[in-house]
């Protein structure tokens, strides 16, 4: 996306209907909480296999993008598609409703939360096999075998029968990642995955996410404050503020050469800590 020199925020131009379908698309999506316009007629796309980081100040609406994709929140207006399927199609003034299409489209999306949200009354293994067994109707043995593989991949094969309260924050988040991956989503959302972690535990989680970014063709959309990490693994970085895309582009452009004053201001504040 060519950066603009003027001070108005960059908007991605409306989708060209002849372009091949993206994995994720937001088309004129708006969302308000009372007076607060969290998203303003957002047009936003993520291509298949793309790794995108969204940065920006608190209250900018970036988490809302993820939450709408995960159907944890509903748009007031607009069209949201995932993997070609309609997730939300809300006309102005109507109430959004979860349809069969919504449910089908949602299956393509997985999410890792800031607060992990593991099921505390289940063991690590049970946490990971719960959804595959009950939603994908996977055979319990097969689900268990997969879960063991995933937990090994995130480095927790020794903690299969531990319960979340017995694990550290970093360990819990890694289980959460394995749990989300167990559903084989095409899109993985990360909502500030390390913001609730003690500093010394951040590295282990970022390591897992890095591995995912480098060795899979999964589409990844991450909201984070870890700027260096975002720069390292992203194909594209999006600067979000006050409900609009301020600027977006390759990490090197955004971090080394931001065009917009808002971006510059934000990066100055964040990176100078």
């Amino acid at each position: 996306m060519p950066p603009h020199a003027d001070s108005s925020p960059t908007q991605v131009p409306a989708r060209d209907p002849d372009r091949p379908r993206d994995m994720i698309s937001f088309d004129g999506v708006s969302k308000s909480w009372g007076e607060n316009k969290v998203l303003r007629s957002l047009n936003f796309e993520v291509g298949a296999g793309e790794k995108v980081s969204i940065i920006g100040p608190s209250g900018s609406g970036k988490t809302t993008i993820l939450r709408i994709l995960m159907t944890l929140e509903t748009p007031d207006q607009g069209l949201v598609t995932v993997n070609g399927g309609t997730l939300w199609d809300v006309k102005s003034g109507t109430k959004p409703k979860e349809t069969k299409q919504t449910i089908a489209a949602r299956r393509n999306v997985g999410m890792v939360f800031q607060q992990f949200n593991l099921f505390p009354h289940m063991t690590t293994l049970q946490n990971v096999i719960e959804a595959p067994v009950h939603v994908l109707k996977m055979d319990k043995e097969e689900a268990t075998a997969r879960a063991v593989d995933l937990l090994e991949m995130v480095g927790l094969s020794k903690h299969l029968s531990h319960k979340p309260p017995q694990l550290s924050g970093g360990q819990q988040q890694r289980v959460a990642i394995a749990r989300a991956l167990a559903m084989r989503p095409k899109v993985m959302l990360f909502d500030e995955p390390t913001s609730a972690l003690d500093p010394e535990l951040i590295g282990e989680v970022l390591g897992v996410i890095r591995e995912l970014a480098h060795s899979t063709d999964m589409t990844m959309l991450m909201v984070t404050h870890e700027m260096r990490f975002a720069e390292e693994i992203s194909d594209r970085v999006v600067m979000f503020d006050s409900g609009v895309v301020v600027e977006q582009g390759a990490p090197s452009e955004i971090f080394k050469n931001p065009t917009h004053e808002r971006t510059r201001k934000f990066l100055r504040a964040v990176l100078e800590r």
């Binding site: 909480w33 009372g34 007076e35 607060n36 969290v38 608190s58 209250g59 900018s60 609406g61 970036k62 988490t63 809302t64 939450r67 929140e73 909201v223």
Partner: protein, 232 residues
């Protein structure tokens, strides 16, 4: 049916009387037993503890009948109303004693240390600092206590006190409009309990510790700038 109205009305008055008197007995009991349980002296703590456990552990119905039917064996014949108010008050007071004890002791720690640092003796501490602070916290549960007492007053009809429930029974026997009468008094009890709850909530708000006087909030509101919140 119009005969029933004055009868029911008189029954309602008796119900209200028993409720109010019972609440007074309960409050006195609650503070006595509650503070007793907090006492350093065993000779106060143990009787208070026994009283609370016995009155909470036996059924109110049994206590009511015992005061009215069993006490005469010791030569004490209580009037139905007296037995009723005593039984209700002591029973509810035993439960409320726990509220008193709980709220005061939960405020104790930090406040106690401050008082000790200021050189206040224990009794003074209790009287001037802990109890006044605890009263707002006690109000909501006490609202419940009063509603509970109101509902329990219906039991006094069983020991011949002419309350609302007793009158309803009378009307039923004498005139046979069973459905209507009992439904009517059910609604009356409901309205009364809602009124008591609303009153208790009002008291709660009025005496809340973090309540800011109106003049201050107005000034703050005029100065306030800023938009509503929202998620990231």
């Amino acid at each position: 049916m119009s005969y029933a109205v004055p009868l029911l009305f008189r029954g309602l008055l008796v119900t209200l009387l028993v409720t109010v008197l019972g609440t007074i007995v309960a409050a006195v009991t609650a503070f006595t037993a509650g503070l007793g349980r907090l006492s350093q002296h065993k000779f106060l703590r143990w009787p208070a503890g026994i009283f609370v456990e016995v009155f909470r552990g036996t059924s109110l119905v049994v206590q009511l009948f015992w005061l009215f039917f069993a006490l005469p064996a010791f030569g004490i014949q209580l009037a139905p109303l007296t037995a009723a108010v005593l039984a209700l008050g002591l029973n509810e007071g035993a439960y409320a004693a726990e509220i008193v004890r709980g709220t005061i002791s939960s405020r104790a720690a930090g406040q106690n240390e401050a008082c000790v640092a200021l050189g206040m003796a224990r009794a003074l501490r209790l009287r001037r600092v802990l109890i006044p602070q605890s009263i707002p916290a006690m109000l909501p549960p006490f609202g419940n206590v009063m509603v509970d007492l109101l509902k329990n007053t219906s039991l006094v009809s069983l020991v011949t006190v002419s309350d609302l429930t007793f009158r309803a029974g009378f009307v039923r026997n004498a005139m046979g409009h069973t459905t209507a009468v009992y439904l009517i008094i059910l609604v009356i009890y409901f309205v009364l309990s809602q009124v008591i709850s609303a009153f208790s909530k009002w008291m709660e708000r009025r005496f809340a510790l973090d309540r800011v006087p109106r003049s201050v909030t107005k000034a703050a509101r005029m100065q306030a700038v800023g938009s509503g919140g929202g998620p990231t």
